[in-house]
């Protein structure tokens, strides 16, 4: 049985997190720095929307403003935390020894497993924009891991490019899930076949126009579909950029 939901950009949870006051230990970069976050799903105490989708628990459309703006170094377990940089420069630091600068097209998967800390930092005056995705793992307290990847938009135009997965894509994770990117420079039809009827696909329009199941998604709108043998995505005129997250439901 086919099911779906549509989430419009303005229906998402929204937080502006300051680097001063009560959140000063959480967000670095005093005094002007702040983070904005649009949440498709629940995020800790910050939102009361949809609880998640399959193994997805967080899908944050975030921006870090002003130099030094950061989520200060903080601990995690278990969650597979992925970031996809859209604009600006992200400095990612973790306790596996990683100190990386990522730019547009770059992404990573940080599996916190048995324990790890990370910091997410914008050192530049230009805003840094990224999508943050958190997935539950398929086992608790795995050895932590960090893998970085790059999406080449020029090579990946007018097709669906795998980015992350337990079997497909250059970055491996321990969960029955796959992340792909669909970039098109004009109208096109793209067919996605989930692994099984027990899988669902969350499609988030980063930019452009996407038609799916009789619904038109505009910039930052999204749709989740599950129980479908095939999902047909049609891109609109101009440039379209979509993140697709397939997950066991």
């Amino acid at each position: 049985m086919r099911n779906s939901f549509v989430l419009h950009a303005d229906e998402r949870g929204y937080n502006k997190i300051l680097s001063t006051g009560a959140t000063a230990s959480y967000v670095g970069g005093h005094p002007d720095a702040f983070i904005t976050r649009f949440s498709s799903f629940n995020f800790g105490e910050y939102q009361d929307g949809r609880k998640g989708f399959g193994r997805i628990r967080v899908f944050g459309d975030e921006a870090f403003y002003h130099p030094g703006c950061s989520y200060s170094m903080h601990p995690h377990h278990n969650f597979i935390i992925c970031a996809f940089v859209l604009e600006g420069r992200l400095t990612h630091i973790n306790t596996l020894g990683g100190l990386e600068e990522l730019g547009p097209g770059d992404y990573y998967a940080f599996s916190a497993g048995s324990g790890g800390l990370h910091e997410e930092l914008n050192r530049s005056a230009e805003p840094m924009r990224a999508i943050y995705l958190w997935l539950l793992p398929d086992q608790l307290y795995l050895p932590p891991s960090y893998t970085r990847g790059h999406f080449d938009a020029a090579a990946g135009t007018n097709r669906i490019t795998p980015l992350i997965g337990n079997d497909a894509g250059p970055v491996k994770i321990s969960q029955d899930a796959r992340v792909s990117r669909l970039v098109a420079d004009g109208p096109g039809t793209f067919r996605y076949r989930p692994r099984s009827a027990g899988h669902g696909v969350y499609a988030f329009a980063i930019d452009g126009t996407l038609h799916c199941e009789g619904v038109t998604l505009k910039r930052r709108d999204s749709t989740g579909i599950w129980g479908a043998e095939e999902i047909v995505y049609e891109t609109g005129r101009g440039d379209t950029d979509v993140l697709l997250v397939e997950t066991i439901m």
């Binding site: 629940n42 995020f43 800790g44 105490e45 609880k51 628990r57 903080h74 601990p75 995690h76 377990h77 278990n78 969650f79 916190a112 497993g113 048995s114 539950l136 793992p137 398929d138 086992q139 608790l140 307290y141 795995l142 050895p143």
Partner: protein
């Protein structure tokens, strides 16, 4: 019918997990302490997320886990 098996819960703020079988002896919760018996104002020892923002999970442990503290 009541499902009496011991359960696990995960903090949605940071991924810390609470296992009823193991408790958290270092935080005053002996092994076997049921989730329902933990105070409502209890928060995640790692990140301060309130108890209400934990989710029950049925995810198995990785090989060799949980390691004795």
């Amino acid at each position: 019918m009541t499902d009496d098996t011991l359960k696990r819960w995960i903090c949605l703020g940071c991924g810390f997990s609470y296992d009823e079988a193991l408790g958290l002896p270092e935080h005053g919760l002996p092994p076997g302490t049921r989730w329902r018996d933990i105070a409502d104002d209890w928060v995640c020892p790692d990140c301060g997320t309130p108890k209400a923002r934990f989710e029950m999970i049925e995810i198995p442990y990785a090989e060799g886990q949980p390691r004795a503290a």
